[in-house]
Symmetry: C2
Subunit: 317 residues, 2 copies
């Protein structure tokens, strides 16, 4: 039985570029995020708090394409987005086109809890964040040389704007499909999901992706599952992939593993992966890319993390 699962993006570095040292850093970062989520669950904490805490940990970590480590769009700007959803009542909050909010997932939660709306975007969303006491950072905070170079390399080659090939191939920039997310089940049986992303490198300015779209990049319903997605955002939006997992469970009677597998292997019109959990603590983490940064904790506290096929486990702390 799993209590929390996370991903740090499909589109992991190709095996050929992954050194032992780099892998160890990623495993450590995933463990840290899992433990942040688990801490929120201990003593009866809500799944909503757990997914928020795990995602905040990854937003604050430079390794992941969300929050601090976000990718640059083709104008050299950061535009982040995030979402959160509660399975008990299908309440949701999402935010997009954020430039300075330190933790977009916290803004998503504030929108869910503090407005009559599901989704806010742009400068007005950041003004709301300030009014809620959330922390903004100067744009330099989000700057990482690695992401900047990745954008410059692509921008240089983008001589044919508006053609399909500006979709960033994973081979060119493994971070292109990064996104982080978490799903959790708490002691009261409630599910929650959260997703946060810096979007694709060299994306158009103003591009909005799946990480802030209920049904595409995030979904939670106690009667079926909680889901967080990562990959080519446009494919998840067209496929309505996060809700598709839930719909296959509810309408076709599939179990979580089968529904998640079909969603990613047969129905997703593109590349990526997802994490999903149901109310019995079953978990599924399918992806159709070479790797996906991911991890989970079982009810005994054992921690599992993985990038490709091999799973590293470490005992409860």
């Amino acid at each position: 039985m799993t209590t929390i699962a996370i991903h740090g993006g499909a589109g992991a570095l190709p095996r050929s570029e992954m050194t032992t040292e780099r892998a160890a850093e990623f495993h450590a970062a995933l463990r840290a995020a899992l433990l942040a989520g688990q801490r929120a669950l201990l003593g009866g904490g809500a799944s909503l708090a757990a997914v928020e805490a795990a995602v905040v940990a990854m937003e604050d970590c430079l390794f992941f394409n969300a929050g601090r480590g976000s990718s640059f769009n083709r104008e050299g700007r950061i535009e982040m987005e995030a979402s959160i959803m509660e399975g008990a009542n299908r309440r949701a909050g999402t935010a997009t086109l954020l430039r300075r909010v330190r933790n977009p997932v916290q803004l998503a939660r504030a929108i869910m809890e503090g407005t009559p709306h599901v989704m806010l975007g742009g400068e007005a969303a950041e003004r709301f964040a300030v009014a809620q006491g959330l922390r903004l950072e100067p744009e330099e905070y989000f700057f990482t040389p690695y992401r900047w170079d990745a954008m410059l390399k692509l921008r240089g080659t983008d001589t044919t704007a508006l053609s399909e090939d500006v979709v960033v191939p994973v081979a060119v920039n493994p971070a292109a499909m990064g996104t982080v997310g978490a799903v959790a089940l708490d002691a009261t049986g409630h599910l929650a999901a959260a997703t946060s992303s810096g979007g694709t490198t060299n994306k158009y300015s103003g591009r909005i992706g799946q990480a802030c779209i209920v049904g595409a990049g995030v979904y939670a319903n106690d009667t079926t599952c909680a889901v967080s997605c990562t990959g080519q955002g446009e494919a998840f939006m067209r496929g309505v992939t996060a809700y598709d997992v839930s719909a296959m469970m509810e309408y076709r009677g599939l179990d979580l593993a089968r529904a998640a597998e079909i969603a990613v292997r047969e129905r997703l019109p593109g590349r990526g992966g997802l994490i999903a959990i149901d109310a019995r603590g079953n978990v599924a983490l399918p992806f159709n890319t070479e790797g996906m940064y991911r991890g989970w904790i079982d009810v005994a506290g054992n921690i599992f993390t993985a990038i490709y096929d091999t799973v590293q486990s470490s005992p409860a702390v």
Copy 2:
């Protein structure tokens, strides 16, 4: 067999406020939009062109809350959004947080066809519109005294910000839930859907609604149906309602009428309606509000329009 259906918003004026004269104006506006869509279909035109043309006609009409007749947010600004989707290949384009684009649905189509993305928002989306040769209008173009007064009335009463009651009750402003949309079937059997909205009156600045969310306010898939939704946007987003109709057809084997009915009557966590068409030309137009501006044209060219229960028909032109 129906070839095109449209809606001009659930949340029609209450019967008590609807005069014969007003009703006649609405019926005429619906007929004009239907004919604009039908013209695009004549001679083998694509369903995509038909839904675009019908929505453009309603965006240009002051009666509907989309394009020119858009509602004001609580800062006295217009923020529009729109979407379009092709059933043949599930391609989609959507745009949001628009202030000056005359026809948001045309920008949605340009994003679908001219970028690798599904969704663009804000000032960058408007820059893209200009680059595509789309028409912007000064903000005054979108000003209508009726919408302005509706916003002022609500703004005056909104002394408890962030409370649930800032969701505009239909009784206060019948235009609150306005949105326009169209679904169509062409001679080659392809489906398309489009939705466009000015959003809810007195909404937060930066609020993004269902009209630009694939799966919530728009969906099209030749193997199931094309759907356009209207109503309390947040409910459609949480319910992933447009895709839900398709999922019930595909996974539960329901026919269009039954799936559309269940989506609106049993599953939607709020108020509104939708229009849906399948590849055999069946159409469904369920709503759980007092009325919904709507209409359709059958394959013989007969025109049907309705606001409440009574359907007006007129022969082919």
